[in-house]
Symmetry: C3
Subunit: 349 residues, 3 copies
């Protein structure tokens, strides 16, 4: 029996099981520089120690999505190495800011299991928590993924599907946001005078910019997150498969779309929560990614008046400018849509 691990199959999971994932990771200024080089993000708070300190942070915090990818990457060898499809995310909350020097690790609890009727696979629901070196939670989220069975004859547990919130509540937001010193928030440096109060529900923003995807870039990103999903790295195997190409990690598209969204959302510097995320189509090297956003909701943060939250739909498209806000025709997504992300961003008031 080889010591190399092939990952878990559907019948290996048990409801309530808690899995401690391998490879704790100290996040550093090196990761921050690479993240900037990979996506070109320009939010002032994450880019500048001086700006971050002026508004109440100890230093520039690590980009929320970089934290997400690092926490997520650790779960892949245990949860989704034998996945057929990544089905969704929910209830993702950012709970504590992360700074260079912090060490992140991840655990996942199996909170749902449901075999598919074909007996070849089943859906596994996990709640993953990322913690820093003090044991404090910095992030938690629910993810569900369709995982192959090793043995079709294996008996499945009784189905259990967890109840998940369609969206997080304002009271769930802001744990990772220190009290802001608003007089230190310089909108000339942040790039836009528009604050929370200036956005309206229903407002749509075409972010105008676009980036073309490269193999070397998504591989560098995905390895930086220590995510080991084979489909992103192995052309020899993928060439024999359905797509003939390496598939790009969905999180790479999320980060790219978020960086593009800077143009028009310059002060939406903090992702406080992700309500739902869907990778509508696969993305490949050579695709050019455009993005647009819609304000779905607008809520103050309970008990504080320094910041407010916008619930945003962030759509990324492929080879299609977003002037006309491509989304859905009826139930069908526009074929150009790559990503449909529903999240809460925080802006200063």
């Amino acid at each position: 029996m080889s010591k190399a691990r092939q990952g878990n199959y559907f019948e290996d999971f048990r409801l309530g099981q808690v899995i401690a994932h391998a490879t704790p990771r100290t996040v550093t200024a090196g990761d921050v520089a690479l993240y900037t080089a990979l996506y070109g993000s320009r939010f002032a708070v994450q880019s500048s120690d001086a700006f971050a300190k002026a508004i109440g942070y100890a230093a520039a915090p690590i980009d929320d999505l970089l934290v997400f990818h690092i926490v997520f990457g650790k779960t892949v060898p245990d949860i989704s190495l034998n996945a057929v499809a990544n089905l969704g995310y929910a209830e993702c909350r950012f709970l504590k800011p992360v700074f260079p020097g912090d060490t992140l690790s991840s655990t996942s609890e199996v909170i749902g299991l449901k075999e598919n009727s074909n007996k070849q696979s089943g859906v596994v629901y996990v709640r993953t928590t990322g913690r820093d070196q003090t044991g404090a939670a910095v992030l938690d989220y629910v993810r569900w993924v369709m995982v192959k069975k090793r043995d079709e004859a294996a008996v499945a547990p009784a189905p259990h599907v967890p109840t998940l919130k369609a969206a997080l509540e304002p009271a769930d937001l802001g744990g990772a946001l220190p009290p802001l010193t608003l007089e230190g928030y310089d909108t000339a440096l942040s790039g836009n005078p528009a604050r929370w109060d200036d956005y309206e529900i229903g407002e749509k923003i075409d972010h105008l910019d676009a980036m073309t995807l490269e193999e070397a870039e998504h591989q560098l990103a995905t390895r930086l997150y220590q995510n080991t999903a084979k489909v992103h790295f192995n052309l020899h195997e993928q060439a024999q498969g359905r797509f003939k190409r390496r598939l790009i990690y969905g999180g790479h598209i999320i980060s790219l779309a978020r960086a593009l969204s800077f143009n028009g959302l310059e002060n939406a510097f903090h992702v406080a929560a992700i309500n739902a995320g869907r990778h509508v189509s696969p993305a490949f090297a050579g695709d050019t990614v455009y993005a647009w956003s819609e304000v779905l909701d607008k809520q103050p943060l309970p008990g504080r008046d320094d910041a407010g939250a916008l619930r945003l739909r962030l759509i990324a498209t492929k080879d299609k400018p977003c002037t006309s806000f491509p989304y859905k025709a009826g139930d069908q997504y526009d074929p150009a849509v790559l990503l449909d992300l529903d999240y809460w961003a925080v802006l200063p008031r």
Copy 2:
């Protein structure tokens, strides 16, 4: 009216206008590592804290051109998003060394405006200053760029073209150079015994080495500088344009040529000033860049005997070795020339 910004057009600029550019940026050891990986620069002072301290720096300073690119990148959304062409640089002085941990921001003053006779565009001259977190200037330079008009009927201001120096004077140099402890300068470690005194006016050096450009590399570089010019990133749009390809940021070629120039200029560790720079031809992925230099002038630094300055012409070519120093035939550049850069480098005496 969308909150996403389309950039300024010629008629949006006013003489004397001062623009504070967005996104302050803390430069870190992560940026230094990426810069090394992108260009392979080997100057001992910027590569080694121990070497830098031995000659009088507090630590290894950030490469001068990395400082330039970061300061420059911030100006793109305000100055050149609607540029037809980047026409030139002048009077670029490096004023204070930058170290990891410093936060850079940029402002530009409009110092000249001249509408083109076709009324479709005009030339905008700006003097840009990069400052650190203390407010001290680390760099300033003049750049002029041809910018489209939004509306051809818009009335242009009276033309004003600033007077610019053909080259900076020795008295303009050395602000970013601490007093050097020459006995700490180890030429075995720096790679060449040749100091300032050993170079002669008219001397030409073929740098021998060459590097082939890659899409992923120039995109990583240009995003690292938070430079948002669309032509470098959007293949979908560029494929419909004149070049059919992404155009590489000119500063990427400058940094690459400078790194290649190490072979023969090992002790020319500090770029004290850029007198002029011309991107003679566009560069694309797949091009192999070679470089050579000529010593145009040689001057002591006023009031100090630790270092001297060489005025250098740095030529980068494409797919052509520089054994025969390709440059111009009459007024015409050799078709292989990509870059013609005129700068002052400082060497120990």
Copy 3:
């Protein structure tokens, strides 16, 4: 006579000659992040300050192979710029852990010279030592390389071939390994419960994972190591040569194979020595690299019971999964084999 250097030729070397190589290099968290992005390595000790401290390190040490590449890179301009072929490595010992902030430099002593019978080239043997800023050796190794003669008529020195160990002894290992606090070694975080005692001589492990090589990635890596060998960077010249393509630095394959070997060797966190290394075939962009390992020997470390050493053969293949452990048929390597590396790894007991 140009100041740019063309590198040494066979007749330039003298037995006993000591060469101090240029460009000392401070290793930082930026290099660590890039190394992770380039190879996706997941050994807990190098990834996490918290994990490293819990077992007795002052902080997460720099990956041994990153130290090797940086020390090696410095030698290229002096030793192998005119190499026909890199023939082998031996007696490579890791002597002291390296941490972010340490500055590395290299010297080489010529320990052997043997002209080839065709008088066109000769073999140069050097023992290279990497030192930190205190002058302490962190690494030494022997390398031999076939170097062209500038002038076939040049008289060669008397041949001298050094005697080299086929493999290092257990007593040569462990200099870079602090006393381990085994109760701090958490195998849930490291990724596998298997410790030194759990491996057996003759055991073979297919590491399952694979990565496809990209031009931008190997160029970034090789420049990060400030390795200037032209064959890795200059497509214009290579296109006219034997392979028509850029050749990938052999060390890039070693690091990639080592990172892949994590799956099944999760606790083999420290490379204590390299006995021998052979680049069986050249690697190019587009190749997909797989890897497997065999335990060749198993030895305690003299005088300590916290860790033991496994002598491992690490084989990397190209476009061929390692299910059947491809290696040799008689004396002939399987045509898919890229790398045959013989090294000692250290694991906790």
